[in-house]
């Protein structure tokens, strides 16, 4: 009965209630979507770290991580691999050989980690093979008379392997894509020119186009002008087991793009047999074991089990390998909660105001209800229910709107291309796909409910303090 009365009371002053409900709707919608956005960004970073960079558990020789000393390696005789594979929960295991060296082309050089892998086995753990930029080659599939190396997009830029050029084909392609003639005419001035790197290209293009034109067509122009020299080569220099300097020419097998500048700049992948041949490190020995497990929640248990079996090795799970990521995933729910609480606190002011108004203008009515025998508990809960109805109605519409928007944007994602450079430098993609778990919605519902209750306390107390005799007499 009280439920019904309260619900009807909410709609007695329709406009006023709608304003409050609308404010809750907008607040919750914006909050839910903002959290889904943040969450999508972090989830993408997490997936990228696990699926492309570190996986779940890594094992190295004792103190190897201090300075990547190539002399600290493991061999099959240690019996590590079969022992790990026998642990329940371990899904896949791969080994890597790693040396430090320098990659150079005719014009530039950069320090890199050269990693010997078994390409087929790596596919079981890492999705790197799916991130090869179309047109730059493939994941060690095409054979060549040279040894093959897989490099990252940022290293390719650094070494001037990727560059930008505008010529007649690029211009005609742009025209086909309905880029206005005035823009292509402006670009024609650079026809035939090659830009050794992206920055120079961008600054040149920026200098002739207006900011409006840039916003609309910049991305397109960049994509079309991007050029990769087929069969590019580079030289890798490193020390072999006898500490002799080895320099060898490699053909670029392909260029991967995982939206993480640091990783892309420093990690060069070769076939393990090639690295072994050049360094003299035995093909069957390795510096690092990488493990993928079935259940993320088990990573600590499995890490401990491996530690117990091999106390002489360094065993690290993803949380220890990327403490910032672990911290983020551990605290992220508190941050979301805090964010929603701030929004709800701001909403509470509006609800309190409205409820107070609703109570004060009904002084006579409430007095009458008390006078004819409605007890204080019921009056109190009626007011409280009204307030909860206001907030929950707004909350639910807000959540539905938020959820709908998340579904709409999750497919194509939201691309902040202008921040790509900065975000990729710290490992985040600028193309964000909002997502959020159902448990977050449950938390939000609880929070909204609590807000409704909390903001009704003061108005409801006011209602209780009314003296029935006095209240009936008021105009």
């Amino acid at each position: 009965m009280i439920l019904k009365t309260a619900w009807k009371n909410v709609w007695r002053n329709r406009v006023r209630s709608l304003v409050v409900i609308a404010s809750v709707t907008v607040g919750i919608f914006a909050g839910v979507f903002a959290v889904a956005f943040m969450n999508g960004m972090i989830a993408q970073r997490f997936d990228a770290a696990i699926d492309e960079e570190i996986s779940h558990i890594q094992i190295t020789g004792k103190d190897y991580l201090l300075n990547n000393d190539p002399e600290i390696y493991m061999t099959p005789e240690d019996g590590i691999i079969p022992a790990i594979k026998s642990i329940p929960g371990v899904e896949y295991v791969v080994t890597r050989t790693i040396v430090t060296g320098m990659a150079s082309t005719a014009s530039k050089s950069a320090g890199v980690q050269i990693i010997g892998i078994n390409p087929d086995r790596e596919k079981e753990i890492f999705k790197l093979y799916k991130t090869i930029i179309p047109g730059t080659g493939d994941y060690f599939e095409t054979e060549s008379k040279y040894d093959l190396a897989l490099i990252g997009q940022d290293l390719a830029k650094e070494l001037n392997i990727i560059r930008f050029a505008i010529d007649s084909t690029v211009l005609s392609k742009l025209r086909n894509k309905e880029v206005p003639d005035e823009i292509t005419t402006k670009l024609e001035a650079f026809s035939g020119k090659r830009f050794s790197n992206g920055k120079k290209f961008i600054s040149t293009v920026t200098s002739v186009l207006t900011s409006h034109e840039l916003r609309q067509y910049g991305q397109l122009i960049r994509e079309e002008a991007w050029s990769y020299r087929e069969n590019s080569r580079m030289i890798l220099t490193f020390l072999d087991r006898e500490n002799n300097q080895v320099s060898s020419v490699f053909r670029i097998a392909g260029i991967y793009d995982i939206k993480n500048a640091i990783f892309e700049q420093s990690q060069v992948f070769l076939r393990n047999e090639v690295l072994s041949r050049l360094t003299g490190i035995d093909e069957s020995s390795f510096h690092k074991v990488i493990i993928r497990i079935n259940d993320l929640g088990e990573s600590e248990n499995i890490t401990n089990e491996i530690r117990k079996k091999f106390p002489g090795l360094d065993v690290k799970n993803w949380k220890e390998l990327q403490p910032d990521l672990a911290m983020m995933t551990d605290y992220v729910h508190q941050i979301y909660g805090f964010f929603m609480v701030i929004i709800l606190a701001a909403l509470a002011f509006g609800i309190i105001n409205t409820m107070l108004m609703a109570v004060l203008e009904r002084t006579k009515e409430l007095g009458m209800l008390t006078a004819i025998g409605m007890n204080k508990k019921k009056v109190f809960s009626m007011i409280m229910l009204e307030s909860v109805f206001l907030s929950i109605t707004g909350g639910i519409t807000g959540m539905i709107a938020g959820w709908g928007t998340i579904l709409l944007t999750a497919k194509k994602g939201i691309n902040f291309a202008q921040y790509a450079e900065g975000m990729e430098a710290i490992g985040y993609s600028a193309h964000i796909f909002p997502e959020i778990s159902a448990s977050f919605f449950i938390m939000v519902v609880i929070l909204i409910f609590l807000t409704g209750i909390a903001s009704s306390v003061y108005p409801a107390l006011k209602a209780l303090k009314l003296d029935p005799a006095e209240a009936i007499r008021t105009e």
Partner: protein, 470 residues
């Protein structure tokens, strides 16, 4: 009676409503100011770090060097150029640098490093390499000795956490170990006694190197050891040389600490076969006001000849600016949502007020008050309410901001280590009141003005007879 007086009294006729609405504005302003101040303050600090310890505000380079950092893009360091720059009134000196990439080896260990040729004395004007020399080093013997020393227990328990760390000054050590200011004079001497690090320096004309603390740990190299540098020299030559490590430096940016090798710049020129050449000439300035810097930028630009180019700090720190911009935008979105919600709250109040006072408005007009005057009074009421919230919010936030400016938020112990692993300094200072305070007030003012449209239209279209019946 004056309009503002009527408005002020009207406000206090319904005290509760005024206070609650005022409080919602207060809450938004207070929260937005604290958040913005912290965010902007942290950026400011990061900026200063990046600029003052590395790039400086202005640099002269070969025009291709910034985009393509190879040894071939160097320029001749002429006394004439030096004189021209030094002749400018805001310039306090020039800092020559020769920067390149090389492989550094010590024993069997090799790593790609950044070789930075500097003038060991002139560098004091910018990154002040000498102040970054390691003074305390917590190696195993130091830790053991400190464990048995008279240090308080709460400090000893952090010893293991920071094993192997180095510090170039007492204050950064105090942060990691959570030593309070009043205790530093008692505790630091103990650290000095057991973990003092005997460091040397480099000098122009004498081969010798300073290397980053993390790089030293990586290469397992200490003072007196030799490192071999191998790289690409001027015009395709091979650059190779070996140098004695004279000192270890601790750079606050971990990424740089991991790869920096300082050489005297003339030795560096020899190494890369580029005698008399520099990759950049950083300019140290007195007044770092943005306008002054921009003026200098233009002025130097006019004086330089073809292959030379002057770069400002914005151009040299694009990446940080880009990151900060993205982060700043996300903070602004949060504040935007907050204000959106507050706007609805204000609109709700206005709505209620208008409905409640319909009859009152009717009476006032009936007894001869001009509608225009009524509208003015209502407008003043709303503005006063907004101002009440804005000023109380600002007044409440200011002490917090000033306190936060004097005593930045610091993370101690494990949290500090985490931050360092992440490549950041474990410190978050506030930014003193600036334009951002005004912006918050402007936003609230705009909200109030928009909310005003409703009652003003109601007043204008009001039919006195109907209102009186309400």
């Amino acid at each position: 009676m004056k309009n503002y007086k009527i408005a002020w009294r009207n406000l206090w006729r319904n005290k509760r409503r005024t206070l609650i609405t005022g409080a919602s504005v207060f809450f938004a302003i207070f929260f937005a100011l604290i958040m913005r101040s912290l965010q902007l303050g942290t950026y400011d600090h990061m900026f200063r770090n990046a600029i003052e310890s590395y790039t400086g505000y202005l640099q002269i380079q070969h025009e291709d060097f910034w985009d393509n950092k190879v040894v071939d893009n160097v320029f001749a360091y002429s006394p004439e150029l030096d004189r021209v720059v030094k002749g400018m009134k805001n310039c306090t000196g020039t800092v020559p640098r020769f920067e390149s990439f090389a492989l550094a080896s010590s024993g069997t260990l090799t790593k790609g490093v950044m070789v930075m040729g500097i003038d060991p004395e002139k560098e004091a004007l910018l990154s002040d390499t000498r102040s970054k020399l390691v003074k305390y080093h917590l190696d195993n013997t130091a830790i053991e000795a400190l464990r048995n020393s008279e240090l308080p227990e709460n400090i000893k328990k952090n010893l293991d956490l920071f094993k192997g760390n180095s510090y170039s000054n007492g204050s950064s050590l105090a942060v990691d170990f959570n030593i309070e200011d009043k205790d530093t004079s008692a505790i630091l001497p103990v650290f000095r006694e057991y973990s003092f690090f005997n460091n040397g320096y480099i000098k122009l004309g004498e081969p010798g190197a300073l290397i980053g603390d993390k790089l030293a740990a990586y290469l397992k190299a200490g003072i007196g050891d030799t490192i071999v540098l191998l790289g690409q020299g001027y015009h395709g030559t091979t650059a190779a040389g070996k140098y004695r490590i004279n000192g270890i430096v601790k750079i606050p940016t971990p990424d740089l600490d991991n790869k920096i090798v300082y050489l005297p710049y003339d030795i560096c020129q020899e190494l890369f076969y580029a005698p008399g050449m520099l990759t950049s000439l950083a300019i140290s300035i007195k007044d770092n006001d943005e306008n002054t810097i921009n003026e200098m930028l233009v002025e130097i630009g006019q004086k330089l000849e073809a292959p030379l180019k002057v770069l400002g700090w914005r151009e040299m720190n694009k990446l940080i600016i880009n990151q900060m911009d993205a982060d700043s935008k996300s903070g602004m979105i949060m504040i935007f949502i907050l204000y959106l919600v507050i706007a609805f709250g204000i609109f709700g109040t206005v709505l209620m007020m208008t409905a409640e006072r319909r009859r009152e408005f009717g009476v006032l007009v009936a007894i001869g008050m001009q509608k225009r005057k009524l509208a003015t009074v209502v407008t003043m009421e709303m503005i006063l309410m907004g101002l009440l919230g804005i000023f109380s919010g600002i007044i409440a936030a200011l002490p917090v901001i000033f306190y936060g400016y004097k005593h930045p938020i610091r993370f101690y112990g494990e949290m500090a280590k985490m931050y360092e692993d992440y490549g950041m300094e474990a410190i978050m200072p506030f930014l003193l009141p600036d334009m951002y305070v005004i912006w918050q007030s402007v936003v609230v003012a705009i909200i109030v003005i928009i909310a005003l449209i409703y009652p003003l239209r109601k007043i204008r279209s009001m039919e006195v007879v109907n209102s009186l019946k309400a």
